[in-house]
């Protein structure tokens, strides 16, 4: 008797009890879909977090002052920023960008726009902070040295002030001074609540002159020569700063933010989250598996008489066993496949603000577990029934 034939018997057996088969499959479907989807949500949120952090640049550290009220002894100054460019004491530093920022109102032909972060810095900031310029160009080191009033604006600013026109070479008014727009920043994905595109970047000297004055810096962005040297750069920077600020105690008046450290912590948190979601989903898969076991036990017990008839008609043990094994496997395979399909469809939607990212191994694992459950728990009662003597099976009530 061919395998194909046995499969047809199994299909007929399943279709003889459509509702029951469908409900069993539903159990497995939900289990498999839940495992895949919840793991995908966990993975998606982890990836979203790491994307945001990577957007900040993983080979940079940011030095910020912790002093309140801007007392001169703890404030970050341009001097300190310049001191960090030191090939002897800080050989792994690639660039140093002092940053000042404030909010400012930008005006163009009577249209006002409040820019939440008007940044003054050096040209190195564009590459260090991973903020490429789209149309136009960044300002140059010469612009910075000469204090020319040029500005690179973010997408949001460009859309607000120059709807439908090219902003390049237009003049805008900021803080009573005229700035020439030389470029527009490429669109950036927003991190959190702030609109990352609502920004404008101008030379440090010009911004200090017009907006912030010559006080302390808001932060210093230090770029490492390569991502592996970030930790080395961090210690080099603290050494120099400690020297400059005469730090003796263990508490420093500045804080160093390291993007890769942030990334590691966040990834760890997200992994825990994913594991938790996966565990919850695994329980539902287990429940689905118990459903299959239960149904196979009921089916086989209920059909012991049928097994007796089949044996009396000359069905070998192997064929009976195969038929019931295939029935159980089909239930779990079809249920599992539908579950995978449901998970794939579900993953194309945003779930609680997270775009799920399917983990391929979770698909394999969920399917594998459901099939194994079907085979094992379907095979057990089927094997018992197939071993019965026909007369015992026929007498079974």
């Amino acid at each position: 008797m061919s395998f194909h034939e046995v499969v047809r018997f199994a299909l007929r057996g399943l279709s003889a009890n459509k509702l029951r088969s469908a409900l069993t499959m539903l159990g497995i479907l939900i289990g498999v879909a839940a495992v895949i989807l919840l793991v995908a949500v966990g993975n998606g949120s982890a990836q979203a977090i790491s994307d945001r952090i990577e957007a900040l640049g993983t080979n940079t550290i940011t030095v910020m002052s912790t002093g309140r009220g801007g007392s001169s002894s703890t404030a970050l100054t341009k001097d300190m920023a310049d001191a960090l460019v030191d090939p002897v004491l800080a050989p792994d530093v690639k660039s140093v960008s002092p940053v000042v920022s404030s909010s400012a109102t930008v005006t163009y032909e009577g249209t006002d726009h409040d820019v939440s972060s008007f940044v003054g810095t050096t040209p190195g900031w564009f590459t260090a902070s991973n903020t490429p310029v789209g149309p136009g160009a960044a300002f140059t080191a010469d612009d910075e040295a000469q204090g020319r009033r040029v500005v690179v604006i973010g997408q949001t600013v460009a859309e607000e002030l120059f709807p439908g026109t090219d902003p390049i070479d237009k003049q805008v008014t900021v803080g009573g001074a005229l700035f020439t727009v030389v470029g527009v920043l490429a669109e950036k994905s927003s991190t959190g609540f702030q609109d990352a595109n609502d920004t404008a970047v101008a030379p440090l000297t010009a911004v200090r002159q017009v907006l912030t004055g010559y006080g302390s810096l808001n932060s210093i962005l230090v770029e490492a020569a390569d991502p592996g040297k970030v930790d080395a750069v961090q210690s080099e920077v603290s050494t120099i700063l400690n020297q400059k600020l005469n730090v003796t105690s263990s508490t420093t008046p500045y804080r160093i933010q390291n993007a890769s450290q942030l990334l590691a912590t966040q990834t760890e948190t997200a992994d825990t989250f994913t594991t938790l979601l996966g565990a919850v989903a695994a329980i539902s898969l287990l429940v689905g598996g118990i459903g299959i076991t239960n149904i196979m036990l009921v089916t086989v017990t209920e059909r012991t008489r049928e097994i007796g008839i089949r044996k009396a008609l000359g069905a070998p043990r192997r064929v009976i066993l195969t038929q019931f094994l295939i029935e159980a496997t089909l239930l779990s395979v079809i249920g599992g496949a539908l579950g995978v399909a449901a998970a794939l469809i579900g993953s194309s939607f945003e779930i609680v603000g997270v775009k799920p990212v399917i983990v391929p191994s979770s698909v394999g694992l969920a399917l594998g577990v459901s099939i194994a459950i079907g085979l094992f728990f379907g095979g057990l009662p089927a094997g018992r029934a197939a071993r019965l003597r026909p007369i015992d099976a026929l007498r079974y009530e």
Binding site: M1, R305, E306, I309, R310, A312, L313, G314, I391, L394
Partner: protein, 246 residues
Amino acid sequence: MSRPVLDVRDLKKIYGQGEATVHALRGVSVTVERGDYVAIMGSSGSGKSTLMNILGALDVPTSGTYLLDGVDVSRLGDRQLALARNRLIGFIFQAFNLIPRTSAVANVELPLAYAGVKPKERRKRAMAALDVVGLADRARHEPNQLSGGQQQRVAVARALVTEPALLLADEPTGNLDSRSTEDVLTVFDQLSSSGRTIVLITHEPEVGDRAKRLIRLVDGDIVTDVRQSPINQPPVGVLAGGRHSL
């Protein structure tokens, strides 16, 4: 004379142990030649069902030998036993035992499927078998859409579709009314006249009367073994066709 289809020697079957021991068969010996039509009668508890189950290779005897078409059934393994049930025996049950929710023709095809016959050939032979029992027009009906008599005739078609050496029927008319009994017995008469070997169990005298040979079983022993009509002629039911014709 060719070898007998059925050759049973000193068959014993004992159920239980110690005090509760029941001797269902106490050494039954019988041979059945090809083309015979044997009815085994006995009251309930006489061991006739036990004998039938052993003859059908559904149960194993405690001792004794059982040669089916020259093959010693007691020495067969599971695979060969399945093969013997499939090729040598056609079994008809009192409770019909059709597979539920499966059409009549699919039920009849089942033994052929287990024999590895190709689907097309199978369908042809199943339809031919249904035609023999007069139910070719009900091939698509499922068991619960058929009357008891029709179900039993489907079961007969299923039993004879593999062209077995021996047709065994365990109280085939036990669950049927007199009209359906008549239908089924007519089928048996026809099969017997076409040369099939039939062994059936019954406790109804009118069924026993139509067989060519009548064996009475009491308490696990054969008490009488009477030839009622010659083995090489059609059974009385066909000869007295006028009496039974509808």
